[in-house]
Symmetry: C2
């Protein structure tokens, strides 16, 4: 069996200790082993800080952008192989796997554009110069400079390519070296990407490392100039945020965690209208794409009481046609959950939701593979606002006049969506729910190729307050801020202006 | 004796339980009692959220700015009384007390300017609209809207007026109601300000509350839409950040904590030159103003080996002329420390610093009052980079060629300063130390009325990474971000443009 190694200190190194076995979740066939026991994490971090950091900081934004372009090109060159790995190791349909790989490449390229717009500087100039005294000589200027540490990225299992690339793109462009730790269960994609990038020596020494397997003591080795971005469960996020050194050194942590994303249908929407069909399509896509294992997927379907039975019938019909099975088979539209534990968590979550199951069942499909068919729940308990079931599961919630109070019971989310053509309704709901979200998606049938609320775009921020972890990623140049220290320069105007070049 | 009450739920309420006695730190005369036992903190927070929040959000930025203007005017009208309270309760010299009160008023007025520049909107439009698809119809726009909670401000003892006003100005302008908790020992100034504002009914109901005394369970009552800004010790900051609900709900916390601010003298600077004299003046000001009890005060004085003996002699001479005593006496230039425990902490800190005391002594001045004369330390131990002595204490540290490695041993600070006319040296040191700071001050003798590094200006960010708490306040409109949720609106361009108005 393949032994996945880690790439630390610009070397491929094998961990010791009892390995974790990576499976094909559709067949339960073992694919690879991974272990991180005995690896010199302290040395790997120091290598990144002392070699990768200075090398990246010596480059301009445009030069760092050229690195991202080369990364994207290298991944594009192995796209087919990466898609195959996504299918085998991730239980992805071909479409799911493309979504991940193309999302990764697309995000890298979007940050190439950001890099080019930032041009020949090595740090950001933040805002205009400020006259501080009566005379123009006393001057202030904010700049934003890369932290002198390493950016540790702890990625989720569901987007092994995209999650890796979107975080790495922003950190590398900011000028920080990256140590990425993919979720072990689906690590083969990120591992292959690292192989490609290392073979081609695309990045400066120390700029990118990969830790495959358990993170071990990784978090405890971080210092005040390091940063950590985590995508995954709220529980793990809370553990990271509570770590002694994280608290003591105010280490910057970005967490993207649980989210009970709502989709709201306006009472103005007629069944069979384009808006209505778009709403259905987006709900079905979010429940089935990646088997519902997207942090941005619609979990709560809020419909006016008057439209409840119509929406329910239509969703049952549409979801009923979705063929679930081994994604290696061509006509399969939804694959398995990623692991046995994801499946058991989803089943436990369904139990916790309560209510009435109007489509699917609270049971694993018989036979090999971690399969769960789409489940639509009606009249769930309060847990629908408190517990994310990370699978092909959504709940129907009727509302009377105003859905906002239901939406905000999610206590902070990544994205919610509104499908309506009633501008007054849209504006009211947006303003009521906006403080609880990182993104609000306004569905409109006239938008061609609308990706729906479940797709994260590099131009827009991704993250959310409260339950969603309080983080913020992407958003074009906004994403850089996490890796940069904003500093006010205060003093003589000519001195500061010379310094800015 | 005066019983200080709290202003909660738009009522003056008295706490029960054993009170803390506020003293005049120069005479140890008791001035007032404060207790928060039995107060309905949960109700006070809910009142702020449900009354103050909506009232503020209904106003435009310009209208909120008018409230800040009225606050500033009201404080200006009682300036003399507030200065007297600062002298009596804070151990401030008249100059120290003016610095605090005028800083408060000046910061409010600076945010009136920010308010007017933001004009008639109720939320921020963040950046330009973004075309997301091939057609212009698919559109993105970031906005930033006030959180729907309460902004809790836990302020430090050293700037009872300024600390209160700078935090309140930004939160109120952002559109969040404030519950301020002054440090109890010096709470009389903030208490009087609250009296003035409440008497004149300057703010909408629920927009401002004051908790005098122990915070009790305050932190544990906060939810995901609340935010907390704290200025004080790193230990208390760590406790706040570790609180169960803070971790669980990703509650936004801004911490401004310990800082070992360095002042660097360039080897190019000739003794007796204007730059040299400015350097000495800033060190002496920071050691003696507020008896060194400023979070931004210079703690580490870094001088080239060649200038060490000159700087040492001159500082000893200048500091030797500073008259220390009861600030009620006119010619006193430095008052006592704020409390008995601040004094004992400072003495313990001096013990920890080690090294050789070349001016002053490791002892309380005999008699009444918490007095410590300026202390200059030479050849301190490593603790000089690890422990902040919050008093009139600084250490002399010689460097050979490059001071940066010494500066960054502070592991994150609010501000460091450079005094040099060697542009190459300035640029090198700035780039090496910038990631470890929130502000870098470049001393220049041609700047008239230069406030030195120890003065926080509302136009520039205040905060710092690592030991300094990882927070960021002020910086003109930048400060608003802490109280706002950035949200990406994604959808049809006409719908979004109508929504923005």
């Amino acid at each position: 069996m393949i032994q996945l190694r880690s790439y630390l200190g610009d070397q491929w190194v094998a961990g010791s200790g009892s390995p974790q076995t990576l499976l094909n979740p559709a067949t339960e066939e073992p694919l690879a082993n991974a272990s991180s026991g005995g690896l010199d994490l302290r040395g790997a971090l120091e290598h990144a800080r002392t070699r990768g950091g200075p090398a990246l900081r010596a480059l301009t934004f445009a030069e760092r952008g050229a690195l991202l372009k080369a990364m994207a090109d290298a991944m594009q060159g192995e796209r087919d192989r990466l898609i195959e790995l996504g299918i085998a190791n991730g239980g992805n349909t071909r479409s799911d796997a493309k979504f991940d790989i193309d999302g990764a490449i697309g995000t890298l390229l979007a940050y190439v554009d950001v890099a080019n717009s930032l041009g020949s500087r090595k740090f950001l100039v933040d805002g205009e110069g400020i006259q501080l005294g009566r005379s123009a000589r006393f001057h202030g200027q904010h700049i934003a400079v890369p932290h002198h540490g390493v950016a540790v990225h702890v990625n989720a299992f569901n987007f092994p390519a995209w999650g890796f690339a979107e975080k790495a793109a922003v950190a590398l462009l900011a000028g920080m070296p990256v140590l990425a730790k993919p979720a072990t269960s689906s690590a083969m994609v990120a591992h292959r990407i690292m192989e490609i990038l290392a073979e081609k020596k695309i990045l400066p020494e120390g700029a990118l490392s990969l830790l495959v397997g358990s993170p071990g003591e990784l978090v405890s080795l971080l210092g005040a100039q390091d940063v950590l971005a985590f995508t995954g469960s709220g529980d793990t996020g809370a553990r990271i945020r509570s770590a002694k050194n994280v608290i003591e050194h105010s280490i910057r942590i970005n967490i993207e965690a649980d989210s009970l994303n709502a989709a709201v249908l306006g009472a103005d929407v007629e069944p069979r209208s384009d808006m209505y069909e778009l709403f259905l399509k987006d709900v079905v896509r979010d429940m089935t794409q990646k088997a519902g294992q997207k942090c941005t997927a619609i979990r709560r379907v809020l419909v006016p009481q008057s439209l409840l039975s119509s929406v329910k019938e239509d969703l049952i019909e549409l979801l009923g046609t979705v063929k679930v099975g081994n994604p290696a088979d061509g006509d399969v539209r939804m694959g398995p959950l990623a692991t046995a534990s994801q499946l058991s968590d989803a089943l436990a979550g369904l139990e916790r939701l309560g209510g009435k199951i109007v489509l699917g069942e609270k049971a694993r499909k018989p036979g090999k593979g971690f399969f769960l068919s789409p489940v639509l729940v009606e009249s769930p308990g309060d847990a629908v606002h408190e517990h994310e079931v990370f699978g092909p599961v959504a709940s129907l919630l009727p509302f009377k006049d105003n859905p906002s109070s239901l939406v905000v019971r999610g206590n902070g989310g990544l994205v919610s969506s509104i499908y309506s053509e009633d501008q007054g309704f849209i504006e009211q709901v947006v303003m009521e729910i906006a403080p609880y979200h990182g993104r609000v998606f306004l569905g409109h049938p006239k938008i061609e190729l609308s990706p729906g609320p479940g797709t994260v775009l590099p131009q827009l921020v991704h993250g959310g307050p409260g339950r969603a972890g309080g983080g913020e990623e992407l958003g074009g140049p906004r994403g850089l801020a996490f890796y940069l220290q904003r500093v006010a320069l205060e003093g003589s105007r000519p001195v500061i202006q010379k310094l800015l070049g």
